[in-house]
Structure formats: C-alpha cells, structure tokens
C-alpha cells in the first residue's frame, strides 16, 4: 500500500517541500507527456510554431469553404479562367469557371463577384485556389509519407537490432547502399522510373519519398533498441520465457521509440518541402494540380519579368515557407524538451 505522504509528523516535510497540485491533465498524460506538452508552450518560438501549424490545419479543413471547388469530383484541380498565357494580377476579374460565392466572401473582400485574390499564373490557373487546396495536399502527402517511412523504419530497425549478427549486418549494408545517393537525386530517379508505369499522380513521388526515406529512422531506432535491449527488465522477461515478438513489441519498442516518433512527426515539414521541390522540377503530379510546388513552377517561364508577375512566387512561396517554418519551430522546441540531459527538469 503506497502512501503519498510518509506517516508521522509531516510538519517539517510540508514546510520543506511545497505541495504541488497535480491537475487532471497531468495525471492523464503522465509526468513525461505533461513535461513535453509544457515544453511546447514555453517559448514564444514554440507557440509561434504551434499557431502556424494550427492555422494550416484549419485552412486545410476549411478548404471547401475558403475556395469552393468548381469541379467537386476533382477538387484538387485548380480552376482555369480561360487559357491565355499571360498571368493576370491580383484582384482581376474572374470570368470563366467561377466558383460559388461562400458566405464570408462579401464581408471580407467587399466584392460581389469572385476576383482572382492572388492573381492567376500562366494558363489562367487561380493562385489563391492552388494555395488553399495545396495545404490539403501538403498534409496528405506529409502524413502518409512520414507514417509509412516511420513504420518501415521501426520494423526494419527493430528487427535488425533485436536479432543482431548476420541479419543486422545484411540490413545495415542495404541501408548503406540506399544512402549513397543524395536524397533528392534518389527520389528524382525513382519517380522518373515509376511515372510511366503508374501514371502522373501523387503516387510516384510519394512512393519514391517512402522508398528512400526510411533508412534514417531505421538507423536511429536500431541504436535506441540496442541500448534498451541490455536493460534488466528485458533480461527478466527472457528468463521467464516470454516470446521474442512479445519482448520486442511490448517491452523494448515502447521504451525505445517514443522520442523518435515525436521527432519524426515533425518531418512532415521536410517531406512537404521535398514534395514541393519535385513538383517544382515538373516531376509527379500533372500540371494544374493544387500543390504549392506546382504553382511555383509556373513562375519558371516568366523569370525575366518577375518584377511584374511577382505574385506567382510571393504568395505560394511565403505559404510554403510559413508551413515549413511552423514545423521547424515546433521541432526545435521539442528537441530541447526531449534532450535526455534535460529530462526531469521543469
């Protein structure tokens, strides 16, 4: 029977140690989880990061309200106002393919008709629409790629670490080979190979990002598990005859991968960046797909007159920067909190 306070005269103890009220949230999350949550709201930088990501989540969720799709079956297709090559500036009138007017539109812009809020790119693609729906693309691709790479990384890394010896050696040499080529180059070539096979869509680039993205996680998790593997409770479990798989999944993994998983979730920013970069190079989705890199790529034909057509790069560019910066700010804060040397400090 554990007692929260020792019996006897508690007066001295009470005056030396101030009692701290433990809130329901802290009880629910446990000391470690609570400390991480606290760390996220400690510095202005981390609060800024958190707010930025929250803002993007809202934009992504509210995309159909912010920019009603013209083709509801395929909302990721940026609507085109005609086919003229010349980009048109922000605020110019929207004539063809006009979306419905949402309730907030008149109150915010004071306009009765849709205008191109951020202008149009070449081929009259509406930039505002691309920016809004691009947020959904960013979360979709980011989440799927990060979760898949993390899953593969955890499985491969834990198998490699747990069995060790020959298995470990083979897996780690494969990892070595896959890591020779720089990430972008490797993704680029695999996407180029896959696109003719499965067609232009999100898939080729996503598959390539996954195929060349898991090795880093596998290495980190392997290292973490190797250190946890030596702990006494693992030995104890082995002595009483627990199955290998159960030891791995119930005793070792939860203790080894927590911080890696938290940090990995922040790689959504990096993944979005790679995805946008490949889109910018013209690899992956078809022209006119609502993706920030795609919209930025429209600027490539107008380099010499960017002083007139600044809006093609400024709006999607700033959006992409803010998105990635949000994840980076959050990541910096989390890295500080999860640093083992900081553990136990409030």
């Amino acid at each position: 029977m554990t007692q929260s306070t020792p019996s006897g005269d508690n007066e001295l103890l009470g005056s030396a140690v101030a009692m701290r009220k433990i809130s329901r949230l802290e009880r629910f999350l446990g000391p470690e989880g609570y400390r991480i949550l606290q760390g996220l709201f400690k510095t202005p930088a981390s609060i800024a990061g958190f707010s930025l990501i929250l803002l993007f989540i809202l934009v992504a969720l509210a995309a159909p309200v912010l920019a009603p799709p013209v083709t509801p079956n395929d909302p990721y297709k940026i609507p085109r106002d005609g086919f003229k090559a010349q980009p048109r500036e922000a605020g110019s009138e929207w004539n063809k393919n006009v979306p419905d007017i949402p309730f907030w539109y008149k109150a915010v812009t004071g306009n009765d008709k849709w205008v191109h809020l951020f202008g149009t790119a070449q081929g009259q693609y509406d930039i505002y629409y691309g920016v809004v729906w691009g947020a959904r693309t960013a979360f979709n691709t980011g989440l799927i790629v990060v979760l898949s790479t993390l899953f593969i990384g955890v499985v491969v890394g834990s198998v490699s670490a747990y069995y060790g010896g020959f298995v470990d050696n083979v897996i780690m040499r494969i990892v070595d080979v896959l890591m020779i080529l720089p990430g972008l180059m490797a993704t680029l070539i695999l996407a180029a190979v896959l696109t003719p096979v499965i067609g232009r869509s999100l898939l080729p680039v996503m598959i390539s990002l996954i195929a060349f993205g898991w090795m880093g996680y596998a290495r980190i998790i392997r290292g973490d598990i190797l250190s946890v593997k030596e702990r006494d409770y693992v030995m104890a479990a082995r002595v009483i005859g627990v199955k290998d798989s159960r030891i791995l999944f119930r005793h070792i993994l939860p203790n080894a991968i927590f911080s890696t998983m938290v940090l990995a979730s922040l790689d959504i920013g990096t993944v979005t960046l790679s995805f946008a970069a490949l889109s910018f190079l013209g690899i992956g989705v078809e022209v006119g797909y609502a993706d920030w890199g795609q919209v930025l790529a429209f600027a490539r034909n107008w380099i010499s007159s960017l002083n007139t057509y600044w809006y093609i790069i400024v709006f999607p560019g700033i959006t992409l920067v803010l998105f990635v910066m949000g994840w980076n700010l959050l990541g910096d804060a989390l890295r500080d909190v999860l640093d083992p040397r900081m553990r136990g400090k409030m």
């Binding site: 930088a45 040499r173 494969i174 070595d176 080979v177 896959l178 020779i180 080529l181 720089p182 972008l184 180059m185 490797a186 680029l188 070539i189 695999l190 996407a191 180029a192 190979v193 896959l194 696109t195 003719p196 096979v197 920013g269 960046l273 946008a276 970069a277 910018f280 190079l281 013209g282 690899i283 890199g293 930025l296 600027a299 490539r300 380099i303 010499s304 007159s305 960017l306 002083n307 007139t308 600044w310 790069i313 400024v314 560019g317 992409l320 920067v321 990635v324 910066m325 980076n328 700010l329 910096d332």
Partner: protein, 353 residues
C-alpha cells in the same frame, strides 16, 4: 590508422556493387524496347527493335543481362564495343540526342566550376559565423544566428532562388541566370577560344579574356549566393555546437589562466580543435556540390549536371536519368572515401591509434 583505411577500402567494392544493382534494378521497370537505348546509338527504327532485343539479349535471365550491362558486347563485324558501363558507356540519351556519357562530360566542368567558386563563401563564411555565435554565446549575435538558422532551414532553395531572381535580375538587371551572355558564348564556342581546362572561368583567364571571366562570375553569383544561404544554417549550427563544447574544455581554462589574450585563446587554442567535425561536413558539402545541385542549377538555368538530370527526369528520359545517378553514385563513393581518409589523417585520435 592503416587498419582503419584498409577496412574502409574493403567497403568500396561492396558499395560499388550495391549501387550498380540499385540502378540496374530500376532499369528493369523499362520494357526491353526502351532498354535497347543502353546499347544502340541513336533512336532505333521500328524494324530494328526486334533485332536489337535478340542481339543484346534484352529478354534473357536477369544475371545475364546484368553482366551484359556491365561489360557490354563486342560487335563481331565492326569490332566495336556496344554498351558496358565499365567502359564508360551509359547508353543513349533521347532528350540530349547524344550518348549519356558525352552529356555528362559536357555538363560536369560547369558544375565543377561552380563548386570551386562556391567553396569559399559556402564553407568559410558559414564557419566564421558559427565561431562568432559561439564566442558571443547568448549575446545578440548568437540570437541573430539562431533566428537565421531557423529561417535558413525553412526557406526552400527554389523559393529563395526565385526571389533573388526577381530582385537582382528582373528588377535590377545585375545578375542574369544562365551561363554566359550571348555574345560571349559565341566567342567561347569559336576556334580562337582555347579550352585548356574546360572550366570556363579559368579558360577565360588563360585566354586573356578578362571580360568573359567577369561575365561568367556574374552569372554564377546568384547560384553561389543561394548555395551559401542554404548551407550556412548547417555550418553555423555545427560550428557553434563544436566551438561551445571546446570552449568548455579544461585546456581552454588553462590557456586563459596563464594570461593569454582572449584572441589567442579562441583562435589558436580553441578553434583548431573545434574544426574536426567540420572537416567531414565540409568534405561532404563539397562532394554534394560536385554531384550537381539539382534545384539551384535548375532555378538559375545553369547548365550543370544537376539541371541536366532534372530536365531529363521531367521528360521521363529514364536512361539518361539513371546514367546521371550512376555517375553521381560512383563519384560519391570515391569522394566519401577520400573524405573519410582525410578525417583520419587530420584527427590525431584516429591517426595515432
């Protein structure tokens, strides 16, 4: 140290084998007709395709094909070797209308030229900033460096590059994209201009054409600025961390205690030791630049191997892209070996073990 180097060398054949398997594996996504470009020069005509498949054994078992791909095949009539990556034959580039190896040979000097001029601003300035941040730990320089490194890691190179083009090219007309102004590229392509090194800036100097030299640098300014900017954040972070670590060491305290000036303590005692991790980072950065910086070269329309790979990939010219990847892989394996050995030579702890 000898055992370290030998062990490192033994890894090389294995990595080479791995990379060729990787590239060869990706080639298997192509149908045999497309793979004929690995051996046939020029675009195969419709009636030659069947013949090419039989001739080059493109539907044979995998290991036979791998062997053919490695060493090629000698034509019994003309006695010429067709294909064979070991002999530098990477196939025929459809988009470039020339052998892939020739395309690489034409593009690589440009990338090398850019690398040479980018090394000093990218690495030395980055290290200098990191040292300043560490010396003024928690001061305003350090805070500014922190902000810079967050912004630096968040700003994608293509957005930064486009903004620079908007400012310095579209608005101010100072630094154009591309490689050379038209009138100068005519001179360079003429017979009077001798290509001693095939690196444009050095050739311009050797030919005594200072105007071409300046024009080439003018075109490289924005790519170098972009490369510096994306690499500074990393160099800043690593240098700052390593320098802070070193400044906490006891021999630094000793140096201070015996009354050395702060300048000597920092630049003579601390900095040389803090530079060890940067040897590797700097090495890998140079190697990365040499392998072709895909995005930066593409944004600025710089004719290096990075932009060539990106262009081929966007046009789904797989043979060309894989040729570039193979070249890049071989380059990286060799260069990483050099960096690792260099590190062993520089670090006394490894050297004397």
């Amino acid at each position: 140290m000898l055992t370290y180097i030998v062990r490192r060398l033994l890894l090389v054949p294995f990595l080479l084998f791995g990379v060729t398997i990787l590239i060869f594996g990706m080639l298997q996504f192509l149908d045999p007709v497309e793979r004929a470009s690995l051996y046939v020069r020029g675009d195969p005509k419709a009636n030659q395709i069947e013949a090419a498949i039989t001739k080059y054994c493109l539907d044979c078992p995998i290991h036979v094909q791998y062997f053919n791909w490695m060493i090629g095949r000698v034509d019994p009539i003309t006695n010429e070797r067709e294909g064979g990556i070991l002999f530098g034959n990477f196939g025929w580039s459809k988009t470039g209308s020339q052998p892939v190896a020739q395309l690489i040979a034409r593009r690589f000097p440009n990338t090398l030229d850019l690398t040479i001029w980018a090394v000093a601003p990218v690495i030395l300035v980055g290290i200098w900033m990191g040292v300043q941040a560490a010396v003024h730990h928690n001061g305003w320089i350090d805070q500014a460096a922190r902000v810079f490194s967050i912004v630096g890691t968040s700003f994608p190179s293509f957005v930064f590059g486009l903004l620079m083009l908007m400012l310095f090219y579209a608005n101010l007309q100072w630094f154009p994209p591309g490689r050379l102004t038209d009138e100068f590229s005519q001179v360079v392509n003429s017979d009077q201009f001798l290509h001693y090194t095939s690196l444009l800036t050095f050739d311009a100097l050797l030919n005594g054409r200072f105007d071409i030299f300046v024009d080439a640098l003018r075109h490289m300014f924005l790519p170098i600025l972009t490369l510096s900017y994306i690499n500074w954040a990393t160099f800043l972070r690593v240098t700052r961390g390593s320098m802070l670590e070193t400044l906490r060491q006891e021999y630094v305290t000793t140096a201070r205690a015996k009354g050395l000036s702060e300048h000597d303590v920092i630049y003579k005692h601390a900095q040389p030791n803090a530079m060890l991790p940067l040897v590797t980072l700097a090495g890998f950065t140079v190697v990365g630049l040499m392998g072709g910086v895909i995005i930066t070269e593409t944004v600025f329309d710089y004719p290096g191997i990075g932009s060539a790979a990106a262009a081929a990939s966007a046009q789904l010219d797989v043979i060309t892209v894989l040729g570039f990847a193979l070249f890049n892989g071989l380059l990286l394996i060799v260069a990483n070996l050099v960096v690792d050995i260099l590190y062993a030579v520089v670090d006394p702890r490894v050297r004397l073990s």
